[in-house]
C-alpha cells in the first residue's frame, strides 16, 4: 500500500515540510490559541463566553508547557499542566458561580451591564 500511496503524497509533501516539526511550531500554535483567547475575552459581551475564552487561554498555555517539557525531556511540564488544569477547574467553578449570581441580579449576561465603577 505504501508503494501506491507514496507517490500520491509527494505533491502534498512538497508544499509543506511535514517532517520538520520543531518546538517552534507548537509554540506558534500555543501563541495563536492564547491570542485568540485574548481577543475573544475582549470582544464578547456574554460573560460565560468571556470565561470560556479564558479557558482557551489556559489551553494555549498548557500546550506551550507540554511542548517545552517534551523539549527539555522533563516531566515538569506535564506536572505543571496538571496543576494548571486544577486551577482552571477551580477558577471555572467560582467564575461560573459569580456569573450565576450576576445573572440573577441583572437578568442578563451582558458584561456591559455592570458599569457601576464608572469614573
Amino acid at each position: 500500500m505504501s508503494a501506491t500511496l507514496g507517490p500520491l503524497l509527494d505533491p502534498v509533501l512538497a508544499i509543506a515540510p511535514l517532517a520538520d516539526v520543531t518546538l517552534y511550531h507548537y509554540l506558534v500554535v500555543s501563541a495563536a490559541m492564547f491570542s485568540l483567547g485574548i481577543i475573544g475575552f475582549l470582544t464578547r459581551r456574554n460573560m460565560i463566553v468571556m470565561f470560556l475564552c479564558t479557558e482557551l487561554m489556559f489551553q494555549g498555555a498548557g500546550l506551550a508547557l507540554i511542548a517545552f517539557g517534551r523539549y527539555w525531556m522533563d516531566h515538569t511540564g506535564e506536572v505543571f499542566v496538571i496543576f494548571v488544569l486544577t486551577i482552571a477547574a477551580a477558577e471555572a467553578a467560582l467564575a461560573l458561580a459569580l456569573v450565576v449570581l450576576l445573572y440573577r441580579k441583572k437578568g442578563s449576561l451582558d458584561a456591559e451591564a455592570w458599569a457601576q465603577l464608572r469614573g
Binding site: L42, A111, A115
Partner: protein
C-alpha cells in the same frame, strides 16, 4: 568754549585746599572783616560743636514726635522747636567764628557709617562716614538756614495754633532742618544725598500736612515724584563720581579735580565720563530747585501751610540745587557745556515763570512763580561763573522771599484763607495790619530790585556778569534777565498795589464758614489781625532784608573790596577759576565797569516796572475786583494773558506726554495681566482638570475595556522588550 586759564593765576581752589590764606590781596581783607563781628561776639568753640548743630533739630523732631504720640495740646512743641532751633542757630554762629578764623575747612568726624573695602585699588573703598565738612560756603548756607528756621518756627507757633496736627508739624519741621543741615554740612556726596532725599521727604510730609484735603495730598505726591526724577540724575551723578574719582568724600574729589584742572590747563582733554558728572548733577539740581522742565511741583506746593512755603520753598530746600552746583563748581568748570546749559535753563526759567506770575491771581502762587524765577537767576549766575552772585542772591532772596511768604500767609490766616487779589484791597488801612503791610512793602521792594536794596545788588551781580561772560549767548541771557527784572518788578507791585493799597475792601475766604473763633454769625466778617509772634517775625525779617543791603552799600562806597559774602564764597570750593567779581574785574562793558552800568540800567528798569504796575493796578482803581486800565491792557494783548493765566498749559502738556501714555500702558498691562498672567495661572488650574476629564472615559466601568487596556499594555511591553533585545 573754554575759560582762558592763565598759567600764572593760582587756582583759588588749590589755594583753599592748601590751607593758606586767600590768593588775591583783597580776599584776605574781606574775610578778615567778616570775622570781626563774630570774633567779638561769639566764643571760640571746638569742632565738636558742629555736630551739635545737627543734634538740636533731630532732638526737637523726636521730642515733637513724642508730644504727638502723647497728644499734647498746648504750644509746647512749638516752644521746644523754637528753643532748640535757636540753640542751633547760636551754635552755628559760634562755629562760623571758628571757621572764619582758621580760614580752612573744618572737618568734624561724627561716627563711622559706611566704611567698606573690597580691594586695595583706589576705586575699591567706599567711605562715607558721618562727618561734616564746614567751609565758608557751608557757613554761609547754615547761617540763613538755621536763622530762618528759628524765625519761621516762631511764626508758625502762632500760625498753626489750633491745628490738630500741631506737634506733628513741628516734628516734621525740625526733621527738615536736620536734613537740610546734613545736606549742607556733609563731607561726602552720600551725606549730601541723604540730606537731599531727606528734605524731599519732609517737603512731601509738610506739603501734604493737611492730608484730608485731596488737593494737598496730590500736590505732595507731585512734588515728591517730580523731585524723584531729578534725584535720579543726582544719584547717577553720585555713582559716576564714585567710579571716576574712587571716593565720595569732598577732600578726595576736589584733590583729583584740581589735578584734572591742571592737566586741562595744559591742553589735555577731559574724559567724557568726568564731563558727564556735572550734567547728571545738574538734573538733580533742576528737580530740587524747580527749574524749567521740573518746576511744576512748586506752585502746587503752595497747598502746604505758609510757614512751610516760606522756609522750604523759598529759602532753604529750593536752594539746595544752587548749593550743589556751587559746591561742585570746579567739576562743572570741566564741562563748559554743562555750565552753558545751567545758564540757559536758569535764564529761560526766570523769564517763563515771570510771565506766569504776571497773570496769576492767587498771591501765594505769584510768590511761588517768583521764587522759580529768582532761582532761575541764581542758576544763571552759576552758569556764567558768578558763583558769588548766585550765593549773594540766595542769601538776599531767602530773606525777602521769606518775608513775602509770611506776609501773604498772615493775610491768608487773617482773612480765612482768602488769597485772590481780586477779593482783597487796601489792607494797609485796616487796623492791625500795618506791620504786615510794611514788611510786605519791604519785601516787594527787594524783590523788584528797587535801587539800593539788597535784591538790587545781588541781581545786578548776576546780570552784569552774564553780559561779560563768554558763555554761549550769555549776552542774550543778560538781556532776558533784564527784561525779567522788569517783569518781576511789575508783578510784585501788582500784588502790592492790588492787595495792600487802594480802596478798602475784603471778602472772606473759603475757611470762613469753618469758624475762625470769633463767634461771627457768618455774615459779618472781621479779619483776624496777626498776633505778636507773626508781627515780630515779620518785623525781624524785614529788618534783616533791609540790613542785608549794608555790605553792598559798604562795597559800593568803597568801604570794602568785595563784600563779605563774596569773600566767603571765594574761599570755598565754589570759587570760579578766574578772579571773581569785584571792582578789579578787569573786563569792561561799554567802556566802563559793568557793574556801574548795570546799577543804572537795572535800577531804571525796576522803576519802570513799578510805574507800570502803579498805572495799571492802582491808578483809577475803585474796587478790589478789577482795575479798568489793567482790563484794557489785557484786552490789548489778546490771548497771551489767558495763556499765561493757564500756566501755559504745561501741566496739561506733561499730563499728555507722560501721564496719559503711562495710564494707557497701565491698562494694557492690566489686560496682559488679566489675560496672559491670569490666563497662565488659570491654565495651571484648568490643565489638570482638562487632562483628568480627557482621561476619565478610560474608567468606563466595563471589565473588558480595562482588559483591553491591559492587553494593549502587554503588547506594548512585548514590543519594547523585543526591540531592546
Amino acid at each position: 568754549m573754554l575759560h582762558n586759564l592763565s598759567a600764572g593765576a593760582l587756582s583759588p581752589l588749590a589755594a583753599t585746599l592748601a590751607t593758606a590764606h586767600g590768593a588775591g590781596a583783597g580776599s584776605a581783607a574781606s574775610v578778615h572783616e567778616a570775622v570781626a563781628p563774630f570774633h567779638f561776639t561769639m566764643p571760640e568753640v571746638g569742632p565738636g560743636f558742629a555736630l551739635l548743630i545737627l543734634v538740636f533739630p533731630i532732638l526737637a523732631s523726636v521730642l515733637c514726635g513724642v508730644f504727638a504720640a502723647l497728644g499734647v495740646k498746648s504750644k509746647l512743641p512749638a516752644w521746644t522747636s523754637v528753643a532748640l532751633l535757636g540753640a542751633g542757630f547760636v551754635t552755628t554762629l559760634m562755629v562760623a567764628r571758628t571757621v572764619l578764623e582758621s580760614n580752612a575747612p573744618l572737618v568734624v568726624h561724627g561716627f563711622d557709617w559706611i566704611n567698606v573695602s573690597w580691594g586695595t585699588a583706589p576705586g575699591q573703598t567706599l567711605t562715607a562716614n558721618f562727618s561734616l565738612y564746614i567751609d565758608l560756603l557751608t557757613v554761609l548756607w547754615m547761617l540763613f538756614v538755621t536763622g530762618l528756621a528759628t524765625l519761621i518756627a516762631l511764626y508758625s507757633s502762632e500760625y498753626m495754633a489750633g491745628d490738630r496736627g500741631y506737634a506733628r508739624f513741628f516734628g516734621f519741621f525740625s526733621l527738615f532742618v536736620f536734613m537740610m543741615s546734613c545736606l549742607v554740612m556733609g563731607d561726602s556726596l552720600l551725606l549730601l544725598y541723604l540730606g537731599w532725599e531727606g528734605v524731599g521727604l519732609c517737603s512731601y510730609l509738610l506739603i501734604g500736612f493737611i492730608y484730608q484735603k485731596p488737593s494737598a495730598a496730590a500736590a505732595a505726591k507731585k512734588a515728591f515724584i517730580v523731585n524723584r526724577i531729578g534725584d535720579l540724575g543726582l544719584a547717577l551723578g553720585v555713582m559716576l563720581a564714585f567710579t571716576q574719582f574712587g571716593s565720595l568724600e569732598y577732600k578726595e574729589i576736589f584733590r583729583q579735580v584740581a589735578e584734572i584742572q591742571a592737566a586741562a590747563a595744559h591742553g589735555e582733554a577731559v574724559p567724557w565720563s568726568i564731563r558727564a558728572i556735572p550734567l547728571l548733577l545738574m538734573v538733580g539740581a533742576f528737580g530740587k530747585s524747580a527749574q524749567l522742565p521740573l518746576y511744576v511741583w512748586l506752585p502746587d506746593a503752595m497747598e502746604g501751610p505758609t510757614p512751610v512755603s516760606a522756609l522750604i520753598h523759598a529759602a532753604t530746600m529750593v536752594t539746595a540745587g544752587v548749593y550743589l552746583i556751587a559746591r561742585f563748581l570746579p567739576v562743572f568748570e570741566l564741562n563748559p557745556v554743562a555750565l552753558n546749559t545751567v545758564a540757559w535753563i536758569g535764564g529761560l526759567t526766570a523769564f517763563f515763570a515771570a510771565t506766569i506770575g504776571m497773570a496769576t491771581f492767587d498771591i501765594k502762587r505769584v510768590m511761588a512763580y517768583s521764587t522759580i524765577s529768582q532761582l532761575g537767576y541764581m542758576f544763571l549766575g552759576l552758569g556764567v561763573l558768578s558763583s558769588a552772585g548766585a550765593a549773594n542772591h540766595v542769601l538776599t532772596h531767602a530773606f525777602f522771599k521769606a518775608t513775602l511768604f509770611l506776609a501773604c500767609g498772615s493775610v491768608m490766616h487773617g482773612f480765612a484763607g482768602q488769597l485772590d487779589l481780586r477779593k482783597l484791597s487796601g489792607l494797609i488801612h485796616v487796623r492791625g495790619w500795618k506791620v504786615v503791610s510794611y514788611s510786605m512793602l519791604v519785601g516787594c521792594l527787594c524783590l523788584a530790585g528797587f535801587p539800593l536794596t539788597s535784591g538790587f545788588f545781588s541781581k545786578d551781580m548776576i546780570i552784569a556778569e552774564s553780559f561779560v561772560s563768554d558763555g554761549f549767548g550769555a549776552s542774550f541771557l543778560g538781556l532776558l534777565a533784564l527784561l525779567t527784572a522788569g517783569m518781576t518788578a511789575y508783578y510784585t507791585f501788582r500784588v502790592f498795589f492790588r492787595v495792600f493799597v487802594g480802596p478798602v475792601e475784603f471778602h472772606a475766604g473759603d475757611e470762613h464758614h469753618d469758624g475762625d473763633g470769633h463767634g461771627d454769625d457768618g455774615h459779618a466778617f472781621h479779619p483776624h489781625a496777626p498776633g505778636w509772634a507773626i508781627n515780630l517775625v515779620l518785623a525781624l525779617l524785614s529788618l534783616g532784608a533791609l540790613a542785608a543791603s549794608i555790605p553792598y552799600l559798604m562795597m559800593l562806597f568803597g568801604a570794602s573790596e568785595d563784600g563779605w559774602i563774596t569773600g566767603l564764597v571765594d574761599h570755598s570750593t565754589a570759587a570760579a577759576t578766574h578772579v571773581t567779581v569785584g571792582v578789579d574785574h578787569g573786563a569792561t562793558f561799554l567802556g566802563a565797569n559793568p557793574h556801574m552800568i548795570m546799577y543804572y540800567v537795572s535800577g531804571g528798569i525796576a522803576l519802570v516796572g513799578i510805574w507800570i504796575a502803579w498805572m495799571l493796578h492802582l491808578k483809577g482803581r475803585t474796587e478790589a475786583a478789577t482795575s479798568p486800565l489793567a482790563e484794557e491792557a489785557a484786552r490789548a494783548l489778546g490771548p497771551i494773558p489767558v495763556w499765561a493765566q493757564n500756566k501755559w498749559c504745561v501741566d496739561e502738556f506733561y499730563d499728555f506726554l507722560f501721564r496719559k501714555p503711562l495710564w494707557f500702558m497701565a491698562h494694557v498691562f492690566y489686560f496682559i495681566d488679566a489675560l496672559l498672567v491670569d490666563g497662565i495661572v488659570n491654565l495651571f488650574g484648568w490643565l489638570p482638570k482638562a487632562i483628568g476629564g480627557s482621561l476619565r472615559p478610560s474608567q468606563s466601568g466595563f471589565l473588558q475595556s480595562y482588559a483591553v487596556g491591559m492587553t494593549g499594555g502587554l503588547a506594548l511591553l512585548l514590543v519594547i522588550v523585543w526591540i531592546v533585545s
